[in-house]
Symmetry: C2
Subunit: 190 residues, 2 copies
């Protein structure tokens, strides 16, 4: 099998999120996919944003932000928040909002999962800032739960891939983590 | 709509990857999902690993690592590499390997996408280390391309969700990023 070098600017499948903050007194949302958990205890998230982003101002000022996971039903609004800057347009009225215990991290009613974070640190990278947030709380609704647990099938979250720039639904279940690999141990010992 | 606080230890849909390194002279692979791009130029990736991980030794010593994206066909091997430590088992023979320009970042032949990274920095978090790698190159095969571009539909990559701990396939295409949201601008101006 011949391997083809496709260059360095490649990407992974990424979660589609809307980062909420209050910037210059107004709730604002921007689409972001460079988001991951980064520490287990306490629970930290990292969000990589281009340094020019309007959202950065709000996160630094209020020292809080939210990570909202939209469903496929609001793909157009989600995409819009990625290329229209809060510098040029008021994005505070696109969604119905709510607030949690941090009070200054606006969250989106329509998102199946909304996470509010306290800013822990900012790492300066060459072109991006990485905001490290400690998760204060995460919110969902009864309709996304099965047996009191989040049910991914009910949430219709989205994945982004680049550089092809497509949004994808989450598909079929492939297996259980920390479980399906145990069959290999069994086979080896058979 | 009543929002339910489900606590702080929540997660996002995450890419399933196998982190490759040479530890104590042997190629080793561990499953990781706390992985994201973190800087645009140069292209950096961040990988959050528990501090006790055997893989950390190898990355620090060789200052290189790989991020391999497995397809659903090797879900069992992928899962196995997540709960069996290289301290206790030789994982160098599970996969057929190849090397790229960095020479010390082992990559997996069977993975549709393999990314090799040069270590840039390590951020120490309370329970995890965050390895920042600059992408040196990414490798695929002809069969995963359409019109010379990576074709996600041909790759069968996986997503992990926690705390439900399921692996998922990538599903249907929902829309084009930096595009589908433009319909909102049109509607507003109509």
């Amino acid at each position: 099998m011949e391997r083809i070098n496709i260059g360095a600017n490649t990407s992974l499948p990424m979660p589609v999120t809307l980062i909420g903050s209050i910037v210059e007194g107004k709730p604002n949302f921007m689409t972001a996919a460079w988001v991951t958990r980064i520490n287990a205890t306490p629970p930290y998230l990292a969000v990589g944003l281009n340094k020019a982003r309007y959202t950065s101002l709000g996160i630094r000022e209020k020292r809080t932000f939210s990570v909202n996971l939209p469903g496929t039903d609001i793909v157009r609004e989600t995409d819009y928040c990625g290329f229209i800057s809060g510098k040029n347009a008021d994005k505070s009225k696109i969604f119905e909002l709510f607030y949690g215990e941090l009070k200054t991290a606006p969250m989106i009613q329509k998102c199946p999962l909304c996470i509010e974070c306290r800013l822990v640190d900012v790492y300066e990278m060459p072109t991006n800032n990485v905001f490290i947030g400690e998760i204060a709380a995460a919110y969902t609704e009864e309709k996304y739960l099965t047996n009191s647990e989040l049910d991914i099938k009910k949430m219709n979250l989205m994945i982004l891939t680049m550089p092809d720039n497509h949004y994808w639904a989450i598909g079929e279940q492939v297996g259980d983590a920390w479980s399906i690999g145990k069959k290999l141990i069994k086979e080896k010992s058979d």
